[in-house]
Assembly symmetry: C2
Homo-oligomer: 931 residues x 2
């Protein structure tokens, strides 16, 4: 058996490709990103110094055995010979010495996390030889003293100060301000002092044997893979520990050999705007780390043309070549040694969201990449970033410097907001509506009847609750920036102020809040406000995405989805529906009718309906509500003409529409104690009557009390016990649709029944409702298509989907509740107590309320889709839980063959891209493994 | 194609068997139970009058078409010819008339639910002919007037009063007290009057054509299948509507042809005791309905020997023959016509639970049936009946007559109880302990800290709550008879009385409560108290059952269970374990450790532990609890030496161990208002301190508040946040096991972790606990086998069982919570609001908290067993939810391949029989379809 190949030469890329079976991703795994790119540049004729790569497999073997694997070092020595030949120099030969760098290079870039040693091969002899050869003793001893410092730090683990202190003292002694003020002789002297540092700190001399230098440096790079910095970085970025790093031994080229030499970094396009122009900087007579470390200020790259035109022209050509080859914005490093250009690195360039979009669209227009590639170049998170108002990072930096940081909490809904704080919903709404103020509502936590205040606010801050608390959910739904659970904040509702870390903010004062980072500042910070309409490139990209995600057609189960997911939106009001449509939604996946019940002029009617003693009283109240609901629905159908609108019938338990028992008790006590603070018999008759009414109400509320309201009398259960409400709602829906149709529009109502757990529940309710629908159409003498379906949000519904699909024409996964019940977590309780700890400690990989739990909840969903479609092949399946806007969850929804995902209007663009990503990923079998 | 056969003659049983493919059950389906049995008696040589049967298929065809199916009537006429030949008489022939009865007979007996007409074929001519033939004009006109009345009622739908009124007036007129006082001439006259009734009421004459009589009677029987009575009965007994009834046309034989004639019914063994002696009654010179209707008092069957010895001897022989043939206690009807015995019916006799057991065991000893057959002859419900104290039905009847019925509620825990009522747990316990009173605790509802009172009570009555409320669950668990949700009862805790329907019962007064029927009576009713030890036959039967259900061995998944389920018991205390063992439990499937925390001397320590500010304080309190827990466990392990004991670690949320916020608030208010009713500043220092303490406690309780505590911080979640408690518990378990082992016993501890939803939870906790277990064994220098496992009670746990089985060594289905979360029902809330309606309206076929929901919860369980065993083939799987004692649920547990079911000690005998039933049913492929 041939010995395992641990080392690949600069011209052995093909062997590496063959070894891994032709998979480029695996080549990067074997040679590391840097090694693979250097080899590829070599192959396409870009000037790269000769080098060889020790593989990641060697690194892993080293980690396992604690020493180089058998044969590795011998292969390295053989490769070194080839590098010597190619460079025309010889390692350790004083007459013509080859110097090398030893660079780490893992599969995924881990910038600054692992070690590099330059100028290996220099010792007292080769240094003298190089001086003879180059006549440039200044350069040689500058390089030598750098080697000793780097080697001391990286290989020997000496602190930088050990050398820096000596350098500083030496410069003072010599009257030098900066390093370049030192003469060649002085640098040589400094080299001697650095060698003395090594001797003093280590007890032995800096190794003079170049091969020993190379060996120790290689080992040091291997070891740095398991260094704390690197391990922490991998944890944070989900890079597996078992990848290992490769080591690249590269012939040194020198940017510090004089003023015809230099070094620089550049992006082939502007990484912050995406503009197609070279962007970068360079330094003449300098080594690479001077540029990276920012020790000297670099010159703009375009200035190089004047200084070293031939190298510059060649560099421009190479950048073009690299972009053409890699078909992406490149981040490159180069060195010019005595006028000759060498490329030392190329990689896909990190860029801002804006640049990512522009570059992707431009490259399609330039014919560089396909639309599919462009779609995959932009992440859904980048789209999200582009849609919310933002504080520029410079603004934040300045505010922090100025001590204006106030508190931080959970980043519940992204976007930046600036406004005056108000501590209750009514006041917030009033200040906004009547005085046009920008308002930030601050509450310990929020409840459904705070919604009007939340909608009037630019931002929301709560001191309690987690990422799926009421405040967080509503805020995301309505695109209001929101920070929740800022536990350092103490809110004093009596004194109308809040306080954190000793800073007090009074009601009416300004704060600035970043829902993307969870940070809150005092005063007003400057806002940057993007808009979708203005972002032509993004619009273009999303249109392309829609070609993959918005095709109509019924999905055929999990086995072979042939078309992508449509993106629909959750919208309760016509204005939300309009926005959703303008953001590209292809339907409304969830209209929550109960939000309409909370509006101030309706709530008293709703309460009368709930407290009705007889069916007649109840019907009378419902008759009053009907016109309101009908008007709401007319607006929705108009806005969504031609597209489906799913309206969910009433879902929450009725007690949510009544004041809480605590509230009532407090009111009663207050009334009883009013006057002289004694008992009730001194109350006036009017007051007494009020108390009696309140006590009646309290009794009704107490009778409705449930110990676990989540799992109580609501949804279809309520409709079975009290069908009058949903009968009114269905009448309102169909009257609205009929009116809209008669007005020439094209309504597509779909009625969704929540909380079904047993098919018999649907069998009791649905036919009654269908009957009403038919009746209305007869009355109005008009027909249109409609559907009746159900939420799948009870585990039993998923498990018995085959039966439920006998009745339901569509399923919509209510993954919020489905997650709650599948896990047995009460969402708010869990986020307040153990869930945070679970996610922190990795017991749960993610918060299952943010990203779908594929193994548990997802398995139930997959069962439901498969079983449901087995019964009813035309079954329409979607998701309307919050997961519908989460890219990872959208990916999963694609794999189980759903028809659409529905999310907040503000997330529709994000979801469109995510849906297209999923469609492309599974259509081509490609997995995007780039980091 | 041959015409379909609608009619089978008395000697065509083989044709019927052939037609249905040899399945006796289907023969009964085709010919009805009565027809099939008559044909079988004919075949084995028992004297049966000639007859033919019109099939249930004809009935169904009639229901569908509204008329007899083509060919049926012709086949009936042909069959009638054969009956004529066999009887030697001719239908409608005055010179030798054949009379027939027309009797319904469905697959399952529906006694009294459908119609029968006797004496068909009599008309003015044949009546005269019969008089000539028999010389018995009294008999003939008695028969004729009966025919007219029956025909009028059954076929024509006339009310019985139409005839009865005429009869009464006629008797008065003639000075006759009873029917038999009427002379032949008078009966003839009465016949004329009855014919006049028909003419008057119907507008036409009673039909004189015998074939018309037969035709109309047959149609009437068919129609009676869909009569209200029959439909209601089928609803109540779950008999399908599409079975249809057969019609039997049977040659009449007459027990009313003189004093050498008679008729009677008998059981081949005593149906109330099971004793092997003929039991029944007869009447001479009477027709069958006289016996059935109880119009005349019958003579004991043994007296017949003196009166008609040859017929009696023949009857004895036939009874023996029938028992031998059917191998079961028979319920027979016979008629003796002029000394000749005819059998008119035989069927499996209804019997009491006691008789069922005795007869089954006796028949095995007599060699009549096998042990397997004996086991299948007794239902689990019958075993249940035999184990609880009972009121005899006569006692109940009398009490109702005497107006002592008080109220009724949900029959939550079977058994009868008599005691004095007390309205709180402390008083109930005190009266029982200190005064030895028999106590019945009455509460609106119960809570965990009422348990000591419940345990001291003979019975429990609540006005609120459903079949799985706290009171119901605890009562069943401890075998205390219990009626819950008696909503007509108003409990006045201040006046210490309860009131229902105007009757008031004061504290300390006697009531009698039947937990099996849900009825409550005032005063003391006489009790019948059975005991398992004394019921030798039952003990024998259960030992036989154990041969099928208690074999050790690992079950192999759902596909092929080869051994039956073991029966284990849920027991928290040593005395429960002892009882469970004496009742035949093969292990403890659930010991709930938290019950131990509620005992009065421990609760303060528990509360101190919960409120601890530091881990040290907490550990100190736990150190105090450790000896208590260890002692509890020692008792358990001793009682169960040699058998497994599963101990569940702490499950409920901690706030259950603290007073409620309402309670505390009330105490604080009371204290503040004490003295002069004004504010707190006038409180004494001691009182002030108390208030401060209470307010601290209140704050802690409020901080623990959860909106859905069912789904909150409890079980393993609590253990991850606060591991000290379970660490103490595991130490106590293993110290106890070690001590017991060192004392020479054989402990088998299995530690059960509740509420797992993700395998990572177990991965965090279980290793820590195993470490403690090992450590204790090292300390004590002793080893024994143990297991660590988990409850499967969260839907996600069932869905991801494959992963959970990587860590857990056993699964125990907690089907109470699993049902709650799979359905999304909060048990107590649901039973109070919609669940009752759901079950009543058939939306749910059963209350899923009483009988496992196979389609939903059961599907998850099946997944869990299959996936869990795929990971760990040796996985031990059981159930410890309440369903473990429910026969239908036990059947399901068998089919999915569980190892054991665990239930309340009192249900162990029931479960043993149910487990054996399941084992036999699936081993032989037999399904017990008898009703």
């Amino acid at each position: 058996m041939a010995e395992k190949k641990w080392v690949y030469l600069f011209n052995e890329l093909d062997k590496a490709i063959e070894y891994v079976g032709g998979d480029w991703d695996k080549v990067r795994g074997l040679l590391g990103g840097k090694g693979a790119n250097l080899a590829e540049m070599t192959r396409i004729g870009v000037p790269v110094p000769p080098f060889f790569t020790v593989t990641t497999e060697a690194c892993n073997a080293y980690q396992a055995e604690g020493k180089f694997p058998a044969g590795m070092w011998e292969q390295a020595l053989a490769a070194l010979k080839e590098v010597e030949n190619a460079a025309g120099k010889k390692f350790g030969d004083p007459s013509n010495p080859l110097l090398v760098s030893c660079r780490s290079g893992a599969k995924f870039s881990m910038p600054g996390m692992m070690d590099t040693v330059l100028n290996i091969g220099l010792n007292d002899e080769t240094a003298e030889g190089m001086v003879k050869l180059t006549g440039n003793d200044r350069f040689v001893y500058d390089s030598y003293r750098r080697l000793i410092q780097m080697f001391g730090s990286v290989v020997m683990g000496l602190p930088d100060e050990a050398f820096e202190d000596v350098l500083e003292e030496f410069k003072k002694e010599k009257g030098a301000k900066v390093d370049t003020d030192l003469s060649a002789e002085q640098l040589k002297e400094l080299t001697g002092k650095f060698k003395a540092v090594v001797r003093r700190e280590m007890g032995f001399d800096f190794p003079q044997d170049p091969l020993e230098q190379m060996k120790l440096a290689t080992e040091a790079v291997f070891k740095s893979w398991n260094g704390k910095r690197a391990v922490d970085y991998r944890r944070a970025t989900n890079i597996p520990d078992d990848l290992g790093t490769a080591v690249n031994i590269v012939a040194m080229v020198f940017g510090n050999m004089g003023w015809d030499s230099g070094t620089g970094v550049a992006f082939t396009r502007d990484p912050s705007t995406g503009e197609r122009k070279l962007y970068g900087g360079y330094l003449l007579n300098a080594q690479g780390e001077d540029v990276v470390a920012g020790i000297r200020n670099t010159e703009p790259i375009e200035n190089l043309e004047k200084e070293l035109k031939p190298a510059y022209d060649q560099f421009i050509e190479i950048c073009k070549k690299l972009e053409l080859h890699y078909k992406d914005l490149q981040d490159v490093e180069f060195t010019i040694e005595r006028g000759r250009l060498w490329m030392l690195q190329t990689r896909s360039g990190k860029r801002t969201a804006r640049a990512a979009v522009k570059a992707a669209v431009d490259m399609v227009n330039e014919g560089l990449i396909t639309k599919e590639e462009a779609i995959l170049r932009v992440t859904p998170d980048q789209v999200d970033t582009l849609l919310h108002p933002q504080f520029d990072s410079s603004v934040i930096k300045e505010a922090k410097k100025a001590g204006r940081f106030f508190c931080s909490g959970v980043n519940a809904s992204p976007g930046a907001a600036v406004g005056r704080i108000y501590f209750d919903a009514d006041l917030a709404e009033k200040k906004h509506k009547e005085e046009g103020q920008d308002v930030i509502m601050v509450r310990p936590f929020t409840k459904p009847d705070d919604v009007h205040g939340m909608l009037a606010s630019k931002g929301i801050l709560t001191s309690e609750g987690g990422a799926t608390s009421h405040a967080a959910v509503v805020a995301r739904q309505f695109g209001v920036p929101c920070v929740v659970g800022a536990s350092s904040v103490r809110i004093d509702l009596d004194k109308r102020l809040m306080e954190a870390n000793g800073v007090v903010v009074h009601e009416g004062e300004w704060v600035s809040l970043d829902g993307g980072t969870g940070e809150v500042f005092t005063g007003k910070l400057a806002l940057t406000v993007p808009s979708l309409e203005e972002q032509k490139d993004l619009l273009t990209l999303l249109e392309w995405a829609d070609e993959y995600c918005a095709k109509p057609g019924i999905r055929q189960g999990a086995s072979g989805p042939t078309v992508g997911l449509q993106v629909w939106a959750n919208a309760d009001y016509p204005k939300d529906a309009q926005r959703a449509r303008s953001y590209g939604a292809k339907g409304i996946g969830l209209c929550r009718t109960e939000h309409m019940f909370f509006e101030p002029e309706r709530l008293p009617i709703v309460q009368r309906m709930i407290l009705a003693k007889t069916s007649e009283e109840r019907t009378a109240a419902l008759d009053e509500l009907l016109p309101y609901q009908r008007a709401d629905f007319e607006g929705l159908f108009e806005a969504m003409t031609g597209l489906p609108v799913i309206i969910r019938l009433i879902d929450p338990p009725l007690h949510e529409f009544l004041p809480s028992a605590e509230e009532l008790q407090a009111q009663i006590t207050a009334k009883r104690l009013s006057g002289d603070g004694l008992s009730s018999f001194v109350l006036g008759r009017g007051e007494l009557k009020e108390v009696v009414e309140l006590e009646k109400l309290l009794k009704a509320v107490e009778a409705m009390h449930e110990s676990n309201p989540m799992m109580g009398l609501r949804g279809i259960r309520l409709s079975i016990v009290m069908p009058e409400i949903v009968e009114m709602q269905v009448r309102a829906i169909f009257e609205a649709a009929a009116n809209v149709k008669l007005a020439g529009k094209d309504p597509h109502p779909e009625v969704m029944i929540p909380l079904t757990g047993h098919v018999n529940e649907l069998k009791v309710i649905q036919p009654r409702l269908v009957e009403i629908a038919r009746h209305v159409m007869e009355e109005k003498k008009v027909t249109f298509e409609y559907k009746f379906g159900t939420m799948i949000e009870i585990p039993r519904a998923a498990v018995t989907a085959a039966e439920i699909a006998e009745v339901a024409e569509f399923f919509s996964f209510g993954t919020n509740d489905l997650t709650q019940m599948t896990f047995g977590y009460s969402r708010d309780d869990a986020e307040r107590s153990f869930l945070v700890k679970y996610v922190e400690n990795g017991i749960l990989p993610k918060n299952p309320f943010q990203t779908l739990d594929k193994d548990g909840v997802g398995r139930l969903m997959r069962m439901a889709v498969e079983d449901g479609r087995a019964t009813r092949p035309s079954l329409e399946v979607g998701i309307c839980g919050e997961h519908g806007g989460d890219p990872a969850s959208i990916d999963f929804c694609h794999t189980i063959g759903q028809n659409y995902v529905s999310c907040s209007p503000f997330r529709v663009p994000v979801a469109r891209l995510a849906a297209a990503h999923a469609a492309l990923k599974y259509a081509t079998g490609k997995q995007n493994t780039d980091k």
